[in-house]
Each structure stands twice: as structure tokens, then as C-alpha cells.
């Protein structure tokens, strides 16, 4: 399970439409509410918690990857996530 698959799953779009520049401004279905779900899904998938300033500085998926790497997280290890009850 890769990061893009998790995010595409939350946004209900195809994973191959995402790239490192993708963010809420340029991606369909991605608004401030979905953004919260995206972050939570990534937290759950990698079993981590982001600090406020980390969330603030994630301007796009590239930034998110950098934050994950700074936590020594290997990219392909994520577990599949289901946010809804």
C-alpha cells in the first residue's frame, strides 16, 4: 500500500492523477474537510502523529513525503486504512 493509494482512496479519485505537487488547491474533491481526513488517514496508515507545524508546512504531497522521511518512515509500509465507522 503506497501513500498515493491511501490519499486517492480518501478523495475517491485515481491514484495516478496525483503527483508531488498535488494539494487541496489543484486536486478534485480535496477541500479543507477532506484535508483533515487525508492527514488522519496518513497518520493511521503509518501509525504516527503529526504536530501542528508539520501539518501547516505540508503544502503538497512532496512536503508530506519529506515530513514522513524526516520520521524515518519507509514509504511502502503503510497499512490500508478505513476512516468510516
Amino acid at each position: 500500500m503506497k501513500l498515493y493509494d491511501i490519499i486517492a482512496g480518501i478523495l475517491n479519485i485515481e491514484a495516478d492523477t496525483l503527483n508531488e505537487q498535488s494539494n487541496a488547491m489543484n486536486t478534485p474533491n480535496w477541500d479543507s474537510l477532506r484535508h483533515i481526513e487525508v492527514i488522519l488517514a496518513v497518520e493511521t496508515a503509518y501509525n504516527i502523529r503529526f504536530a501542528i507545524n508539520e501539518v501547516v508546512n505540508m503544502q503538497n504531497l512532496g512536503d508530506m513525503r519529506a515530513v514522513l522521511e524526516s520520521k524515518d518512515i519507509s514509504f511502502d509500509d503503510a497499512e490500508p486504512v478505513r476512516l468510516s465507522a
Partner: protein, 505 residues
Amino acid sequence: MPFNSYEFLVLFLPCTFLAFALVQHFKGWSNAFSVLAVASLIFYAQLSWKLLAILLVSVVSNYVIGSVLSRSYEAEKASNKLLIGGILGNLFALGYFKYTNFFIDITNQVTGTGFDHLSIILPIGISFYTFIQIGYLIEAHGGRTEQRSFAKYTLFATFFPYVTAGPLVMQKEIFDQMENRRDRALDGQRIALGLSIFAMGLFKKVVFADSLAPFANVAFDGVTAGGAVDPVTAWTASLAYTLQLYFDFSGYSDMAIGLGTIFGLKLPLNFNSPFKATSISDFWQRWHMTMTRFFTNYVFSPMAMNGLRKAMAKQMPAFPKFVYSGGWPIIFTMLVAGIWHGSGWTFVFYGLLHGIAIAINNGWKQFNLPKLGLFTNWLLTMLVVVSGLVIFRSPDMATATTMLSAMWGASAFIAADLGEPVRIAIVDAWIYILPLGIIVLGLPNTQEILSRQWITSDAKPQVMSKLTNAFLWKPNAGWALMLAALLVFAFSNIGSDSSFLYYDF
């Protein structure tokens, strides 16, 4: 000395630029930034020396706290207590200057006491420079700042284009531009670009906003004084104010970005044709964008994430989950954003109205309710915006209630016996409202006209605007002539007592 004053345009701006360019040429960028920092303090001191003292206390304290936070992060001992203390200190100062008398009013109303107001002057821009620096402390705590000279920090916190009314910049977007500057201060093309943006902003403020002001002022002041108002007058005055505030704040934001450009420091976009929005959330992504960004980052997101975590842990059904993670956090955030603008019940209700409207908008999307069509979406958005601005403009809730009841056909339910009817020149007002409305809704905005230059510190959008060539700014004689004409016309029409509406916040 606001941007639309002769002192600023004839004296302050040329002198500052001359000193800045000379120092950069002979002594390098670092010293040029010090010149700009000193100029910014002089700019602020022109408003009041006393208020400069308050600004300096704020800047020095936050510089010291930020440095300690940044060093403790490097020593791997990030101090949560210091961060919280620093934020509370900032909020306490803001609260004291801005809200003390509001609390006295509430105490008097609730307990029936008769405490007098304290004579506290509201330091101009305190809401802006306080929040800019709170953002800095959070970044320093997270290890995202570097140790910088006091001069550079002062410039970041008090740069004159934004110290009085924003944009609410983030540290990274300003400091990144100060590092490793290789260009020259005296760059003709960049200065021409900055002056062009400034000219458009000055024109919006002096010619458009200031022409609309009298219609709104007469009606609102009349109602506050106890006058009655009919629906046509109420709607006309409200639309006049809506457009006045739009051109006032959009003009101010253009001028700020233009001034930043002249000195080679790009600022974030603050305005992106908000009245073209087709939902209330969309509106807040376009109106006062840097304020929305601040409250989204530091109030809404943390609350919504906590709410969603709780909802997931308790496996809540869809509706309570929405209330926890999207509904209540946005209502609370907008309430805080409303109160941030000023003390008084009007700002409480203004925030609540927008919070509830966005919550409904979010819920509508979340639960896939039927789509209403683009025009209906736009109309509903604008009705909330105009009604909200009536509350925003009113000095008290009584004025807001009278105006809104007249607009929404509910005057009959107001028991109070109202006085003489308020009269404004309706036809004259519409002579301004109609064409300006068409400009707002139909013409490209400043950054679209300048889309080939990309004038702000924000990331470039992946899809650039598709304006036809004729609307695109070019550094040629035709555009120079037109913008010079705008500048001269605005310059010769500057009113004596017209400051910016956002100076009050």
C-alpha cells in the same frame, strides 16, 4: 500616514527607496534590509510614538522567545511551556488593548454594575503583527526557523506594507526571500511592476471605495441615530458598503503587494475576486486569504483533527462524526475569526453567521445533498456575504437588526417606534453600484492581469489564467501611459480623511 496620503507618496516612499537602493549598492543586502526595518519603524511612528513603544515591546519579546525556542529545538529539548507562555503573552496583550472595554460592558450588563470604560487606545495593526509573530513562535518551536539578526526579524515583523493591515505573512515566505539575494535593488522592470500594482490599488481605494462611502455612511449613521429605513434604501446602502469594503481592502492589498514588489519582497495573495465565489467556503478561500490560512492552520485543523480522532475512536455514526470533525470546529473557528476583527457583539454574530453558513455548506457536500446549480449557489453565497457585512458595518446590533429587518421584509415585527426615515440619493448610489458590480464580477483581477509576472510569494498555480492578450500587463508605453493616468487621477482625488477600513482591526 496611510498609503493613500501625500506624505507617504511624495516623501516617505521615495526617500525610503532611495536610501534602500543606495545602501544596497554600496553596503550590500544585509544593510539594505536594516534600512528597510528602520523605515518601517519610522512609518509606524508616524501613526503614534506611544504605539511604536508597544510595537517594539512586542517585537523584542517575540524575538527573544523565538530565539530561545529555536535553540531549545536544536538542543532536542523543545519547550512546550515556553511556546504556550509566549502565545498566551501575545494573546493577553492583544486582549488587553482590544477587548478590555468589551468585557467591562458584558460585566456591567450581566451583573448590573456600572464600571466605566478604561481609556485604552487600540494600537493600529496589533491584530496583524501579533498573529504574524504567534505564527513565528510556532514555527520556531517546530525547528523551522534559523537564528537571524534582530534587524531582519524586525523587518519581518513590521515591514511597512503589511504592519497595519496585513497580509498575515508566514515567516518562511519572507525570510526565504531575504536570504541569498543576488539581484539589485535598482531593477527598472521590477520597480515598474510594483508601481503598476500599486497604481491599480490606489485607484481602487481612492476612486472606487471612497466614492461609495458616503452612501453607506449616511444610511448606517442615520439608522444608528434612530432613523427608520425602507427596504430599497437598506439594500442600496448595504450593497454600497459591500462594494466599498471590497475596493477598500482589495485596493489596500494590491498596494501592499505592489510596495513589497518595489523592494523585491513578494507578499502572499490576500484577495482573489471573492464575489465570484460560488460557495461560502469558496468565498473565504478568496477573501482575506491570509487570515483564512492562519485560522485554518492554527484553529480549525487542530480542532477538526482532534474531533475526527475522537469520532473514529468512538466509531460514531456519520452525523455526529460530521459535527465533531467539521461542523463544530468551523463554527468555533469563524466565531474566533469574527471576534479577532474587533470587540463587540456585532463581530460575534458576524463570525457565527459565517460559521453556521460554512457548516451547512460542508454538511451539504458531506451528505451529497442535491446540487442547486451555479447561479443559485452564487446568489446564496452573496446573500450571506451582504447580510454578514451589514452586521460587520453596524456599530451595534440594534443598527444591524433594523437594517436586516428592512432588507428581509421583517420591519413589521420590530416593535420599536422608529424616527424620521433615513434618505440617501438612491439613483446616484446605483450609478456607482451597477458599473462597479460589473467590474467586480466581469473583469479580470490584478493578479490575472499580471499572471505572466506572478506577483506573489505563493506557489505558482499549475494552470495559469487564460486571459486574452489584450488584458495582460506588458512593460510597454501603452500600459505605462494608462497606469500613469490611473495614478495621477487617483493622486489628485485623495480625500483628506480617508483611512483604510481594515486599520480598525
